[in-house]
């Protein structure tokens, strides 16, 4: 009598059972509670104090966005777990079969290697969701305090963290599949993670192409989603990189194929993905899902800016590490790119800090030109209002009347009650009890 369950489902069940018997996963689960807890408790306490808890003066505005005040710091714990704990779980699941010899047996089932790696990825994705349960508990606690939740921005944060976890799983799977030993795979995975930090660091100093590349590192991707910004190019590039990692892992599982052939297949796949990634960088659609529209200009400004069809060229004489440049880029130019179809920003600087260029007469100048033959206009001020005024002046349009769509925030002067007990006591206890229960049940 043959089993009614297909080989893929058997494989998924096997991977799930292997995951449940993996100490790495239980450690991830046990640690994720206190990790999320310490971030959540600290964030809620600060939020409460800014809201007037403890007799302080109540703050106003953007500070009372739960996205910035609570979700970004709380979910940053998930980012840490994804960077430093999840790779070990993924490596255990992928490399375990090679180490034990199970791979030699399983590869004799005529199931495509893509299905095999798919089963592992599916289980690892589910593992990450379970490990993210403390973040879900944090949301429930926040609601129980009477805190506001704006689902679109929370969805953006969750999407960012799932993509980040997907990138980690894909990277660790590829490393585990192409290296001979799990410890080598761990070193490779962590080296790549540290490498992306180095790219971020170089980008902050050098700017230019490094800055562009740094926009797609996992840290930068998570940061964008944590600000409620969903960019099509970032989503597609993340998915392409996840697919590349899993495909390389699948190629590495092809035991009967010569190593040279596998290397060539991986290189071709890498080149194709690089082309896809490059093409994706030209995609501009994006969605600001934050409740306070922190990634967008006011709606009235956007309506006027969208009507300007001529290309806008900007030349900013500011060095990469100059805070004015960071302000301009994050608070003005990134928003401009989202509403104006053709914005070309070029930075001019002889050094990375700009410290010794201050004496130059042109340093600090920002030149704006609308259209190919438009008259350039210079403005040294880097605030949103001033930049928009310059652009409106160049376009010859009236600045819009100020609308009333100002985000008032959601102050909440409530301390993080019960959170310590939940994250530091109940969660670890539940994890330990779960581990013992599963261990006995599988015996």
């Amino acid at each position: 009598m043959r089993s009614r369950k297909g080989p893929f489902l058997w494989l998924v069940e096997k991977e799930w059972r292997e995951l449940l018997s993996s100490r790495a996963w239980w450690v991830l689960l046990a640690v994720s509670g206190p990790l999320v807890g310490v971030s959540f408790i600290s964030a809620v306490r600060t939020y409460a104090e800014l809201s007037g808890y403890g007799g302080g003066t109540e703050g106003v505005g953007e500070a009372f966005s739960p996205l910035v005040g609570v979700w970004a710091p709380t979910f940053s714990a998930c980012e840490l777990a994804a960077a430093f704990l999840l790779p070990f779980v993924a490596i255990r699941v992928v490399a375990g079969d090679r180490q034990s010899g199970a791979m030699k047996l399983e590869l004799q089932q005529p199931l495509s290697v893509l299905w095999r790696i798919g089963a592992k990825a599916l289980v690892l994705g589910a593992a990450w969701l379970v490990a993210s349960a403390p973040a879900a508990i944090a949301i429930l606690l926040w609601r129980s305090y009477g805190g506001a939740v704006y689902p679109p921005e929370l969805g953006a944060v969750l999407l960012g963290h799932m993509l980040n976890a997907g990138l980690t799983i894909a990277l660790a799977s590829a490393a585990a599949s192409v290296t001979d030993h799990p410890s080598t795979a761990a070193i490779v995975t962590l080296s790549v993670t540290v490498g992306t930090w180095i790219v971020n660091f170089i980008a902050a100093v050098q700017g230019g192409i490094w800055e562009r590349a740094a926009g797609y590192t996992p840290t930068a991707i998570v940061a964008q989603f944590q600000h409620g910004l969903v960019r099509l190019d970032v989503v597609l590039i993340s998915l392409a990189l996840i697919a590349l990692g899993l495909a390389i892992a699948a190629i590495g599982m092809h035991l009967g194929v010569p190593a040279r052939t596998r290397a060539a297949e991986s290189i071709v796949l890498g080149a194709l993905t690089a082309a896809v990634v490059f093409a994706c960088t030209f995609l501009t659609p994006s969605w600001d899902l934050s409740e306070n529209r922190m990634n967008s200009f006011r709606r009235s400004d956007e309506a006027v800016l969208r009507q300007i069809r001529q290309p806008l060229r900007i030349v900013a004489h500011l060095a990469a590490e100059d805070p004015r440049r960071v302000d301009l880029e994050q608070k003005v130019f990134s928003k401009l790119r989202r509403v104006m179809p053709r914005v070309d920003v070029r930075y001019v600087a002889a050094t990375s800090t700009g410290l010794f260029e201050q004496a130059s007469a042109h340093y600090g100048e920002v030149w704006y030109r609308l259209g190919e033959n438009g008259v350039p206009s210079m403005n040294r001020i880097t605030t949103v209002e001033s930049v928009l005024e310059t652009i409106y002046g160049l376009a010859g349009v009236e600045p819009p009347v100020e609308s009333g769509d100002i985000f008032r925030g959601h102050p909440l002067a409530v301390p993080p009650r019960r959170a310590a007990a939940v994250f530091y006591g109940i969660w670890p206890a539940v994890v330990v009890a779960g581990a013992v229960f599963i261990w006995r049940r599988q015996s």
Binding site: M1, R2, S3, K5, P7, W10, L11, E13, K14, R17, E18, S21, D97, S100, G101, A102, K104, L105, E106, L107, Q108, Q109, P110, L255, G256, V257, P258, Q442, S443
Partner: protein, 244 residues
């Protein structure tokens, strides 16, 4: 004489400068128990892994039922049970057998019989990783016997077994072959091979020295070495020494 199920023709495999298999040729007939005999390092495992598609080979050809062996045919017709592995170490033997039958498309109904024949009943609740070498060997043999592939390659099926277990497992393998399965067993203990196998392939230093039934091998040894006179109890050992 039945047509060969598998024909291996001048198979060559090298690890860098070391030639592990040098133009190895042999045939496997349907329904037989073929023994691959050779000392450690002779290339037995390499030959099995090349046949099973776990290792790529450099030259030569493998024919299955007269046609070149494709990946699809390999995964549906040949199953290889390596030596020295401990797959799914945290899973119980019971679940492992269910998994083997389900995943590889074998029959779950065959599990009780195989468990009884290999005396695995008391071990069903034990995790694979906690089994002794001999227990694990029997467990993996059970996995191999549960698979539906017509040809089973088994690397060192008696390694780690005591004398009694070796005889019992040998008898179980003979019964399994009698039920229609073709077995190709790699064995370095020649007396074990003599007890279980119908025919033998003698492999030494990556080369096939001889292939045939015991009588054929004795005849060949006597032809090559007229002074050869094997003791009845050590016939195959003496033949092996004479021909390699």
């Amino acid at each position: 004489m039945p047509e060969p199920m598998v024909v291996v023709d001048r198979l060559t495999k090298a690890y860098g400068r070391l030639t592990a298999l040098a133009e190895v040729s042999l045939s496997i007939r349907a329904g037989e128990v073929l023994g691959l005999i050779g000392p450690n390092g002779a290339g037995k495992t390499t030959l099995f892994e090349c046949l099973a598609g776990v290792l790529p080979y450099d030259a030569g050809e493998i024919l299955l039922d007269g046609a070149p062996l494709t990946g699809e045919a390999r995964t549906s017709r040949i199953f290889y049970m390596p030596d020295g592995i401990a797959p799914w170490p945290s899973q119980t033997l019971k679940w492992t057998l269910d998994y083997a039958a389900g995943f590889f498309g074998g029959s779950a109904a065959a599990i009780p019989g195989i468990v009884r024949r290999l005396d695995l009943g008391p071990l069903l609740g034990s995790r694979i990783g906690t089994l002794s070498k001999g227990q694990r060997k029997r467990a993996l043999l059970a996995v191999g016997m549960l698979t539906p592939h017509p040809l089973l390659l088994c690397d060192e099926p008696f390694d780690g077994l005591d004398l009694r277990q070796t005889r019992e497992v040998g008898a179980a393998l003979r019964e399994h072959a009698a039920a229609g399965r073709t077995l190709f067993l790699s064995i370095h203990q020649i007396p074990d091979a003599a007890r279980v196998c119908d025919r033998f392939v003698l492999l030494s230093a990556g080369r096939v020295c001889a292939e045939g039934t015991l009588d054929e091998l004795i005849h060949r040894a006597r032809t090559l070495h007229p002074e050869h006179s094997a003791h009845p109890e050590h016939q195959l050992e003496d033949v092996f020494l004479a021909l390699t």
